[in-house]
């Protein structure tokens, strides 16, 4: 015991040493000689994309697991997947349809409103999920290796699955209010896919910010509510832009607000009285542009801080 302790103990004390790899400089050389790589370094972008793709099964399993775990303690179980959006729509109908009388200005108000609420909820929930993507899974981030983008992507996928349940409820409501299925319903698929990419990108950006500054998650609900009221969820954007004498920039901002674009595209797909002339010009191009811009931008922004997630 005492043989080794006097010789070895201060292997490398000097905590106040200089920044350079101080005492044995041959350690770095040793590592280089044998081709060791720095642990925990951020992978290159192509490598990162490859890693993410190879974890696709984990992403889908994680999303489905989260979704099924969500209501597993409730008596009604998975029925809440349907009930929650329906109750939401009922509340908005009570306030905006009955109490405030918005219904008088918009044809097919109930399908209009319910579509708006469901599609908006998808965007909002995806972004809210982003605030908890890292902070809510710190244990996972600190224990296992995987591209961290898997977390916001999985949570966004969970919201997409949730949306499919909502769409089921939506179709029942649509048919109940006389909107019968037509070929144009298929247009909802590209619209929702673009919206999903848009939301996932935004969610990744929010995830990075919230991982660094957890306070952001307190702020996001207020931003989202403001955004919702500006996005024509319960009122018609084209009507307001057409009727009022708004400054050009304000009208443009209202029309090309991504949330409003995706909502109106789905309304255009589902509701007969929501015709093409109620959409702003080049609406599909705008929907695609928003998806690419936010999807790629959010992913890049998230990847840039990859090695920092999970720090105390």
């Amino acid at each position: 015991m005492t043989i080794a302790s006097p010789t070895a103990p201060p292997a490398r004390p000097a905590p106040a040493g200089p920044a350079a790899p101080a005492a044995p400089p041959d350690l770095a050389a040793l590592a280089a000689r044998h081709g060791l790589t720095v642990s925990g370094a951020r992978p290159t972008l192509p490598a990162y994309v490859r890693q993410l793709w190879s974890r696709r099964h984990f992403i889908t399993a994680f999303a489905t697991a989260k979704l099924t775990a969500q209501y597993s303690q409730a008596r009604l179980g998975q029925l809440w997947q349907l009930l929650t959006p329906l109750l939401n729509a009922a509340v908005y109908y009570l306030i905006f349809g009955v109490l405030l009388g918005t219904a008088d200005h918009v044809p097919d108000f109930v399908p209009f409103l319910v579509t708006g609420v469901f599609i908006w909820t998808f965007t909002a929930n995806t972004i809210t999920a982003g605030t908890r993507a890292i902070s809510g899974n710190l244990g996972l981030v600190r224990a296992l290796h995987f591209p961290r983008a898997a977390l916001p992507v999985a949570l966004a996928l969970q919201q997409l699955q949730q949306l499919l349940f909502s769409l089921g409820a939506l179709i029942v409501i649509l048919v109940g209010f006389g909107q019968l299925p037509t070929a144009s319903w298929l247009l909802a698929i590209p619209a929702l896919l673009l919206q999903a990419v848009f939301g996932t990108g935004l969610s990744m950006a929010v995830a990075r910010v919230a991982a660094r500054t957890p306070d952001v998650s307190q702020l996001v609900p207020f931003l989202l509510r403001t955004w919702m009221y500006a996005s024509g969820v319960m009122w018609s954007v084209d009507k307001v832009v057409g009727d009022r004498d708004l400054p050009h920039l304000v009208a443009l901002a209202l029309q090309y607000n991504p949330a409003a674009i995706y909502i109106d595209l789905v309304r255009f797909a589902f509701i007969d009285s929501f015709t093409a002339d109620r959409l702003p010009p080049h609406v599909w191009a705008a929907a695609l542009a928003w998806a690419v811009l936010c999807g790629a931008g959010g992913f890049l922004y998230f990847w840039k801080a990859e090695e920092q997630y999970g720090r105390g």
């Binding site: 015991m1 080794a4 490398r12 790899p21």
Partner: protein, 284 residues
């Protein structure tokens, strides 16, 4: 090969090289000052200097090289930075200064965080396996082994029940079984040997032994000195974030035991705590 651990020139292949590593935690949580809204506001306004942010210097300039075929034990009292160092080797914690070089991807043994108590054991096995980076085919191939090894089906069909219905021992056994299903180049084990009852401990020790043979290098953090001397040939002793000793497991453990005994005698009672006598566990 634990004879000359510092740097045998040339011959053995290093798998992990830790070069002058410092690790600091930034703690955002309970601050020293008052928690009133106005003081929080003033902290936000006067940002820059991070007045409320406390730094914990967990690892202070540790250097060593680990070679293929070695099993290295990490010892030291509670809060000495063992687990933190392990996480840095795994690349899960960034270093404040210095670098960690590795061959391949070191992995921590543990999937606890990936599992969800509301899901059945069955689905957790799949989820945990995927989280560790196994493919669905690999998991399917190992599924029965995992269930058998954990022994949770010995008292009825528990795999098809949610994990929250398990006893804590059953949960721990299933978690270990999932974690140990995959073999790794560099394996980092943080006190995984203390799960379950005596029978399961014996089985898990055998499994660790197998994993050790499959892996290139194994790091083991444990408060059980006997575990370290039994399963490791080299040991690192960390104390307050500083590497105090690096050498053959028996010598280092002996020196550490002398240190803790001395510490206990002087600080009679309050301090030593869990890091001391656990070596004499009735494991086997």
């Amino acid at each position: 090969m634990a004879e000359n651990p510092t740097r045998p020139t040339g011959e053995p292949t290093p798998t992990v090289v830790v070069d002058g590593v410092h690790i600091t935690y930034k703690v955002n949580g309970p601050r020293t000052g008052r928690g009133s809204a106005t003081s929080a506001l003033s902290r936000i306004v006067s940002r820059g200097a991070h007045p409320g942010l406390r730094e914990v210097h967990a690892v202070k300039g540790v250097s060593f090289a680990a070679y293929r075929g070695e099993a290295i034990g990490l010892i030291g009292s509670n809060g000495s930075g063992k687990s933190t160092l392990l996480k840095a080797v795994a690349g899960l914690l960034p270093t404040a200064k210095g670098r960690v070089y590795t061959a391949g991807q070191p992995s921590l043994l543990g999937v606890n965080a990936a599992l969800m108590s509301d899901l059945t054991g069955e689905r957790n096995i799949i989820l945990g396996g995927l989280a560790m980076g196994m493919t669905r085919d690999q998991i399917r191939g190992r599924y029965d082994d995992i269930v058998d090894f954990s022994g949770i089906n010995e008292k009825g069909d528990f795999v098809s029940l949610p994990m929250r219905t398990y006893s804590s021992g059953m949960g721990a056994r299933l978690r270990f079984s999932i974690a140990a299903a995959k073999s790794h180049d560099v394996l980092l084990i943080d006190e995984a040997l203390s799960t379950g009852d005596a029978r399961f401990r014996r089985r898990s020790r055998q499994r660790i032994e197998e994993l050790r043979r499959e892996a290139g290098t194994v790091f083991l953090v444990s408060h059980s000195n006997s575990t370290i001397t039994e399963s490791c040939d080299r040991a690192l002793w960390l104390e307050a974030g500083v590497l105090r000793m690096d050498g053959p497991a028996k010598e280092v453990v002996a020196a550490y035991e002398e240190f803790t005994a001395a510490g206990n005698r002087s600080a009679a009672g309050n301090k030593g705590g869990a890091g001391t006598g656990t070596g004499k566990q009735p494991a086997r």
